[in-house]
Symmetry: C2
Amino acid sequence: MAGIDYPEEAKALIGELKKLPGVGPRSAERMAIWLLQSPKANPEDLARVVQRAGEEVGSCERCGFFASGSESECPVCSATGRDDRLLCVVEQATDVLPIERSGAYRGYYHCLGGKLSPLDGVGPEDLRIDGLLKRVRERSEMEVVLAVGSDVEGEATANYLMDVLGGEGCSVTRLAQGLPAGSALEYADELTLHRAFEGRK
Amino acid sequence: MAGIDYPEEAKALIGELKKLPGVGPRSAERMAIWLLQSPKANPEDLARVVQRAGEEVGSCERCGFFASGSESECPVCSATGRDDRLLCVVEQATDVLPIERSGAYRGYYHCLGGKLSPLDGVGPEDLRIDGLLKRVRERSEMEVVLAVGSDVEGEATANYLMDVLGGEGCSVTRLAQGLPAGSALEYADELTLHRAFEGRK
């Protein structure tokens, strides 16, 4: 008697869902079952949007943010009225939207596509650094704002970029580190407090 | 100046992923970005398997387990050599495989498609109970094994089914509750210990 198992199509679906970030075997199974059995699920819709997004959404050739359809430039790069002496370097394309929403910045962006992480095998050649140097050289008197994370890999990436950009004649700044807004002092860890003191003004 | 946002196609993708069970807005964004930007991602493959599984995988008309393609019966119901005096009632189709893998049971199954949960608006009419009664009436001297969860909703479902099946002339059993295998006594909660004592033999 053959072992009972999911139909092949369901197994293939579980296999693909398992590849998504943060999805383990159990959640993949749960998602697949939901897609196949819940009256609220519409696998057709999901298939359609995945397919369409895969075809239509690309990366901006210039900055690495999302570009839609046949356009090679993203809405930021093709926007007018932005300050072209400001270039904000972020790790991921997804870091752009929070900064935009904050309203604190009105220049252009450059998405590295990751951060230096030797343990994960991510070196400088895996990041969009050549393109960054090219953009910096296109314009004089530029300020490059390093808006990378304050974790170990973010620090390493910032240090590396400061070295590389050192000889390019642009000024390089980093985002301030300190207490998050609306937080009591008692919740801040030692390193955050340390940096908040260092950066006091 | 218009606000910068993800392309429409990416937003539609995030919206659909967010509907999956256990996926919140942040994880949906992370999955979508991964699908669109990771060199390891293949949105075409995901779209294809979702589409195909949605079209090809159905529910067994008899027991509610998965049936593939044009077949109306699942591999369990169409299997020979199983004990047709045993009917195991489970909540979900996904409960069948763990039981199969355990090798502890060689009868047929009946998947309710959920459990009684008044708070979530799930009543007896939402479960596959009519089909269960029909199957029980088809055969005399049947043992119905209630293999539902030991949580509150599972208990409620089991109690309801025992009432309903009471007049049908079949014997109704429940899975034993007690210490999980390989677990030390000190890790067992009070209710588990209570039930382990009640069920001692």
